[in-house]
Subunit: 82 residues, 2 copies
């Protein structure tokens, strides 16, 4: 049961970037988005991914790979359409 | 060294919400922010916090408590100034 709560938490925090990425791609409206948030966040997620590979933890690798792609997409749009 | 990478990753992903929260509080501009991202993300962080308490993991509790306050602030501004 405790592990299930952690599992749902991981799914939610990973998937939450899907509506943001879709919203950003569709509207190209990035005015309310902080550039620094996505610079720092994408770097942090990249390090989580490296950490996941180093300790060979597949849930960590998969979750952070998905989040990295979504966060990097938002970051690129922010830099392109600011 | 491996643990250090995980530690830096955790610090970056937690602190990344500081510039976003400050930006949102200062400008009240939430047009580019996805409501659903923050609904899902804040719920996920709350579950991470519950999970941290259940397994008594203080780094998890502290990191997610900070992120929860920041994400909930952004969510409240998004709902108020959409």
């Amino acid at each position: 049961m405790i592990e299930f709560i952690g599992f749902v938490a991981a799914i939610l925090t990973t998937l939450s970037f899907v509506p943001q990425a879709l919203h950003t791609i569709k509207t190209k409206d990035t005015s309310g988005i902080s550039l620094w948030m996505y610079v720092i966040f994408t770097s942090g997620i990249f390090l989580w991914l490296v950490y996941g590979f180093l300790i060979t933890n597949w849930p960590l690798i998969i979750a952070n790979l998905v989040t990295f792609v979504l966060a990097a997409t938002i970051l690129i749009f922010k830099m392109k359409y600011k």
